[in-house]
């Protein structure tokens, strides 16, 4: 992401003053004092980030959007920080929830989007902030400056085809990004962002989330493809998640450990991250995701991720797989594993087998590990 000089972070473009928001007096949103005799007086009562307020000024005109946004996972961060319902919940030691909550709040809660401005006016505060375009309001967030400012390690690298070329020389950007030129909001629409019907515990609980089928399943040629007949229709005997055939390798992380440095500042260290492609059994089969096989991604959490805060905080570590259902943004029309039936069937390289899983994680991944490969095809 291109860096911003500190003065450019707060430099208002003249063009802004001609916009709808620019016609509102600065002090209406930002407080402060004007005219003022000097800088200090001007900044008395200043509200640097008005949309972070409990009752944001944005709601004066955009009440529905503000109310809906505050139910969204971007705002609640439930998936990460809620130890009763979020991704860590099954692993938590029920007797040490309070200690773990402190650790999670210190290390995992800083990156969520809490304000309208973080998408529509400035770069997310988490990534250093600064205006997107001289304080002009942007209806559509910038995919790189907004979305990827937070979703960098996985979505950005995957979407832009930034996987390791030495290991995967043929890796290309997600076809939706290039050459099709679609940005994040083409699928993750503004309407969707601002209309969650309820608060969700985790992202895959959201039944309104974008699905490949929204655009692709209705096409007449879809049902003519043999692979779709075999693996992607109600009549198919073995159902595959779309990404099983259409994704390229994607990013994985492992061994995240957190702590505090000499100054008491929180830090994290991940042991490694790597691009790979693995098909596993679907650990979260549901009416919405009835697939037998899905692509799985190793998540960063380790048995002792929070050891800095105490022993055995994740005493139920094995209650949840470490290779989890994934929806990587590395889509191509025909990925190498889908060039023919034989490219995939009986190809042990593609499947998550016991040997791919570290010994102390095998129990956690029992329901994901593929113990019998699909039979060889001619």
């Amino acid at each position: 992401m291109p860096p911003l000089e500190v003065q450019d972070k707060v430099l208002v473009k003249e063009e802004f003053l001609d916009t709808v928001h620019g016609r509102v007096a600065c002090t209406s949103c930002h407080g402060g004092t004007e005219p003022a005799k000097d800088r200090a007086e001007a900044h008395v009562g200043l509200i640097p980030n008005p949309s972070a307020e409990e009752e944001p000024f944005c709601a004066t005109c955009h009440a529905d959007q503000v109310e809906a946004f505050r139910k969204s996972l971007h705002y609640t961060n439930n998936g990460i920080v809620n130890l009763e319902t979020g991704v860590l919940a099954p692993r938590v030691n029920p007797e040490k929830v309070d200690v773990l909550q402190v650790a999670v709040d210190n290390h995992c809660a800083s990156c969520h989007i809490t304000t309208c401005g973080d998408c529509h006016v400035n770069r997310p505060e988490w990534s250093g902030g600064g205006f997107l375009a001289g304080h002009q309001f942007r209806k559509t967030p910038n995919p790189v400056l907004n979305c990827m400012a937070c979703h960098g390690s996985r979505v950005q690298k995957e979407m832009l085809g930034q996987g390791p070329k030495d290991q995967f020389p043929d890796i290309v950007p997600d076809v939706h990004w290039a050459p099709l030129g679609m940005d994040c909001t083409a699928c993750h629409t503004g309407e969707w962002f601002h209309s969650p019907s309820e608060e969700y515990a985790r992202r895959y609980d959201n039944k309104e989330a974008p699905r490949c089928e929204d655009c692709h399943a209705g096409a007449p040629e879809f049902a003519k493809v043999t692979a779709h007949q075999m693996h992607a229709m109600e009549t198919s005997s073995t159902l595959l998640q779309c990404q099983v055939c259409h994704a390229q390798p994607y990013n994985n992380c492992a061994g995240c450990h957190v702590g505090k440095d000499d100054k008491g500042l929180p830090y994290f260290k991940t042991d490694r991250s790597w691009f790979d492609f693995k098909i596993g059994r679907n650990p979260d089969k549901s009416e919405d995701r009835p697939y037998d096989y899905v692509v799985v991604r190793h998540v960063p959490v380790a048995r002792d991720t929070f050891a800095f805060y105490g022993e055995d905080l994740l005493s139920n570590y094995d209650a949840e797989p470490t290779f989890k259902y994934a929806t990587p943004h590395t889509i191509v029309r025909v990925a190498p594993q889908a060039e023919s039936c034989g490219s995939c069937h009986n190809n042990a390289e593609l499947f998550l087998t016991e040997e791919d899983v570290p010994e102390d994680e095998r129990e956690a991944n029992r329901e994901v590990i593929v113990d019998r490969l699909p039979p060889a095809m001619p």
Binding site: V6, Q7, D8, V10, L11, V12, K13, E14, L17, D18, G22, R23, V24, A25, C26, T27, H30, G32, E34, P35, A36, K37, D38, R39, A42, C111, G152, S153, N251, C253, C256, G259, K260, D261, K263, L265, P266, Y267, F268, K269, T270, D271, R272, S273, P300
Partner: protein, 74 residues
């Protein structure tokens, strides 16, 4: 010449309406004092890169401290 109190009130009302219709933007663009004699306004400083640079040299913003020990991808 206005001879009655009512006429004065009417004129005052019309002037207030004219100001209202001119809008906040116009007020900001045309009437905001830009010098220290009249008092600083938000846009007199925040639309000028030079002013901001000079100001930030005088009043460097507090540094947001982040640990340098973080490693790897989050």
């Amino acid at each position: 010449m206005i001879r009655s109190k009512g006429g004065l009130l009417l004129l005052g009302g019309l002037l207030a309406l004219a100001l209202l219709l001119a809008g906040c933007g116009a007020q900001q663009a045309d009437e905001e004092p830009a010098s220290s004699e009249e008092g600083f306004t938000c846009i007199s400083c925040h639309t000028s890169r030079e002013n901001l640079v000079a100001d930030l040299e005088q009043n460097p913003p507090p540094k947001v401290e982040k640990s340098t020990e973080s490693e790897g991808e989050g």
